[in-house]
């Protein structure tokens, strides 16, 4: 690691800052007091192994001030479960936990608190479950301890899923049952080793009956319930033939085992149940991972809020807030509910809702939204709607809905499978009647074999398994899937549209050239970057980010921001202005002629312009590679941007993109996409792109854009780089190929096995193996997608 970056968080260290922490006998530089405190705390408590455990992953956010978490105490009751033994248990979602080192650290430090009984940390779901003695330890203390380490603890409001355990039990029960029944079925099947003693035979059959009964009623009943529900909804689901075959096999075998003649089919039945459950178990696990990511959105709403009552202000838990209540908010707090400002004014950061990073001014009568943060000012807000109707909740619902939608291809497979089921049932009936008519003595064998062997499991697994495998792969490579269908269509689309600002170029600006116009002498002694750094510290405008921050601990004079123009203030008794040409002109400065395509920013004092800075937004990482790859694949690329002509042209030339459209408003962009005759991929970010993203056949947005844009887009890129898109492209093509192979295989298998089964030449246990192997091949084939490397 270079010494320019913070040893703890890896962020660049501001110029001129000399903060160090003494770790393992070495001085290490730190970027801020928060990081220093954490690093020193770790070192002092002999936890410096943290730095060894964490691999390449570093926290990317610097440590903010630690919070007080007083509000946690108010909502205590909702967050703590009291266990039977009198201990309290709580689940905390810890944001900023990246790797095993973090888990290790939390375990260590929390473990030292008095009254802690048990800590369980899941690094995958970022959840910490703490069991503690509430007499000795408060919830607030736990939260404070976690936040002192630099993590952001949030109450975990998601209900624990208990399904997982149940499912696992059912799966294992059927697995063990299957093994036992198969073991004692072998002597019944093989004629040479046959147990000749009829009494012993009887004993074996009854034992299988005992175990099979348990397997059927414990593990198999889900299928019967599902089938019953499907039938009530007049829908022929896959569970209908499944339930028919296992019930038929079970009850016929029960009858046969008491009548003492013919084969019993307990082995086939339990095997069938086991393999089906196994397939569903794997499917469920993948889905669960998706849900965890979504729930993070709602965690943004604070768990308690200050409400104005006749006697003053009281702190109440979120769920007690009602429409019409007055909330009291001061700077730094997160708004708990949607409402109208009834007193005061301030600035809100609504980035989470709109993606706009700049604070928005809020006056009396204006609307504020739950999840937004009040940056400046004090306001009173009258709640205008219940919690479930807030904009944030609606957005979360929208995301959930989009996830539940099945892709068209998936629906198609389901549709085909349901026809298939009907055909299977008809074939089974035909088989039954034929064998009965001809009196072949194979009626039961043939019937069961047909039902089991033709189960369209492989067919209906073909698409979903490949798609979920693709989703799993993509999420590991920084791509979130909103719309599964995008995976299968992405690589087919020929026409790609890119937004420029914030998509092809990064959102932060950089100074590329400085023209120092000062005349030399004493004037020049003061470095420009000190002045600009001092002035820009008050501004949160993207342009301000171009000027590197320098630590200036002394106050040299007041600085003020003039939104839309620039900043102005005193630095060591000289008055400076830093801002646009228009602003400078309004003060009568003569503007020096600097020929440039870049954005120009001027620094002036009372004597005139001192310097001109050329600013440009850098190309985003991976943009060049992505465009080159796409062009290699003969895709047509276009840039649509709201930016002015020169900037867009520059960008297009850098990326060798021939078609570009500058100065487009959101409506123009929409129009442009609508006019395309072929499918379109749109890559964009931010609010103004949301409608455009929704228009495109496949849409891709970037994480730092608005969550609203997430909802409208099919794929979300999580990192700073555009490279994941290239990976998504590769995965998309591969997935499509896998799905095709799967479908062909499943259809071929089902078609070839059915006639054999109908003739009664296939025993049910063999059919069950055939069914499982064909499904297994499909699942294994799909799993290959998970391994696609970038």
């Amino acid at each position: 690691m270079s010494s320019d970056n913070c040893f703890h968080c890896g962020q660049p260290i501001p110029l001129g800052l000399k903060l160090t922490a003494y770790i393992d006998g070495k001085e290490q530089s730190m970027c801020c007091i928060g990081c220093q405190a954490v690093a020193q705390f770790l070192a002092d408590n002999h936890h410096q192994q943290f730095y060894q455990y964490r691999q390449q992953d570093k926290p990317t956010t610097a440590i903010n001030k630690t919070e007080d978490y007083g509000s946690i105490e108010v909502a205590q009751q909702d967050l703590i479960t009291v266990l039977d033994n009198g201990l309290s248990q709580t689940s905390i979602r810890v944001d900023g936990m990246y790797c095993s080192a973090c888990a290790w650290l939390l375990q260590k430090v929390l473990g030292q608190l008095p009254g802690i009984h048990d800590i369980h940390i899941n690094t995958i779901s970022h959840k910490v479950q703490v069991t503690f003695l509430s007499e000795e330890l408060t919830l607030q203390r736990i939260y404070q301890t976690i936040s002192q380490l630099g993590y952001q603890p949030k109450p975990d409001r998601q209900k624990q899923k208990t399904d997982h355990g149940h499912f696992l039990k059912k799966l294992m029960a059927s697995g063990f049952g299957m093994m036992f029944i198969m073991t004692i079925s072998v002597p019944l099947y093989t004629d040479t080793l046959t147990v000749t003693d009829p009494l012993l035979r009887r004993f074996f059959v009854l034992l299988s009956l005992l175990v099979a009964t348990w397997v059927y009623f414990y593990s198999g009943k889900v299928f019967v319930f599902n089938a019953w529900r499907d039938l009530k909804n007049r829908h022929l689901g896959m569970d209908v033939p499944v339930a028919t075959s296992i019930s038929l096999a079970y009850f016929a075998s029960v009858y046969l085992s008491f009548n003492g003649q013919g084969h019993v089919y307990f082995d086939s039945m339990s095997m069938f149940i086991f393999f089906l459950l196994l397939g569903r178990f794997i499917e469920n696990q993948v889905k669960q991972q998706h849900l965890d990511i979504q729930s993070a959105l709602l965690d943004l709403i604070p768990i308690s809020a200050k409400r104005e009552v006749t006697l003053g202000i009281e702190e109440v838990p979120l769920k007690e807030l009602k429409k019409g209540d007055i909330l009291v908010l001061s700077a730094g707090e997160t708004i708990a509910a949607d409402g109208l400002i009834v007193a005061g004014h301030g600035q809100c950061n609504e980035a989470i809702l709109t993606g706009e990073a700049r604070p928005v001014r809020k006056m009396m009568g204006q609307r504020v939204y739950a999840g937004a943060q009040l940056i400046k000012g004090d306001i009173k807000v009258q709640i205008s709607c219940d919690n479930d109707d807030s904009l944030l909740s609606q957005m979360a619902q929208m995301m959930e809905r989009s996830q539940q939608q099945k892709p068209r291809q998936w629906q198609l497979a389901d549709h085909i499978a349901s026809y298939f089921v009907a055909v299977v049932l008809v074939l089974a009936l035909v088989t039954l009647l034929t064998h009965w008519w001809l009196d072949t003595g194979l009626m039961m064998v043939a019937l069961l074999s047909v039902l089991i062997a033709t189960c369209p499991c492989a067919l209906s697994l073909a698409t979903p398994t490949a798609l979920t495998a693709a989703a799993m792969n993509l999420i590991k490579h920084g791509v979130l899937i909103n719309q599964m269908e995008a995976i299968t269509t992405l690589h087919q689309v020929k026409s790609w549209f890119f937004d420029k600002t914030g998509t092809l170029t990064g959102s932060e600006m950089q100074v590329v050239k400085t023209h120092d116009l000062r005349k030399g002498g004493s004037q020049r002694t003061l470095p420009l970057n000190i002045i600009t750094a001092y002035l820009q510290k008050v501004s949160s405008h993207p342009i301000a980010s171009a000027f590197p921050s320098v630590l200036i601990d002394q106050d040299y004079g007041e600085v003020k921001e003039f939104p839309g123009y620039g900043v102005a203030g005193h630095y060591k008794k000289v008055f400076y202005r830093l801002g646009s040409d228009e602003w400078m002109r309004s003060f009568g400065y003569s503007i020096p002629d600097v020929p440039s395509d870049n954005t120009l920013v001027y620094l002036a004092n009372d004597q005139g312009i001192l310097a001109v800075f050329e600013l440009t937004a850098q190309l985003r990482e991976g943009a060049t590679e992505l465009c080159a790859t796409l062009q290699e694949q003969h895709k047509s690329l276009q840039i649509v941007s709201g930016d002015h002509k020169q900037a867009v042209q520059n960008c297009a030339e850098q990326l060798h993109i021939k078609n570009w459209y500058a100065a487009c408003k959101a409506d123009d962009k929409k129009q442009l996409i609508m006019e395309q005759n072929e499918p379109v991929v749109m890559v964009g970010d931010g609010v103004n792109d949301a409608p455009v993203l929704a228009m495109a056949d496949v849409s891709i947005s970037l994480k730092q854009g608005a969550p609203l844009a997430h909802a409208a887009s099919d794929l979300v890129i999580l990192g700073q780089s555009l490279k994941p898109i290239m990976h998504a492209l590769r995965v998309s093509a591969f997935t499509q190929r896998i799905i095709k192979v799967n479908l062909v295989w499943a259809l071929l298998y089902n078609m070839s096995i059915t006639p054999i089964a109908m003739m009664g030449m296939l025993s049910p246990w063999l059919a069950a193996i055939g069914m499982s192997v064909s499904s297994l091949l499909v699942v294994l084939n799909s799993r290959r997608v998970v391994g696609v490397k970038s």
Binding site: Q49, Y53, S100, A103, W104, Q107, K108, G111, I116, H117, D118, I119, H120, I121, N122, T123, I124, H164, G165, L168, K169, M172, A173, F176, G177, M179, F180, T183, I184, V195, L200, F203, F204, L207, V211
Partner: protein, 53 residues
């Protein structure tokens, strides 16, 4: 003889299922990823926090 052996195997199956159910109920299958790292913790004072039930 055969009967005894078969019954014995049935008993084993029941025991295996029982053991498994016990493990699931004890949440031993809830998190299969993090405990792998616990072996790397070399702090001797720590047993009180993790193993106490």
């Amino acid at each position: 003889m055969v009967v005894v052996l078969v019954l014995l195997s049935l008993f084993l199956v029941v025991a295996a299922i029982g053991a498994f159910f016990w493990a699931v109920n004890n949440k031993q299958f809830d998190d299969l990823d993090s405990p792998a790292y616990s072996i790397l913790e070399d702090d001797e004072t720590d047993h009180s926090t993790t193993s106490r039930k």
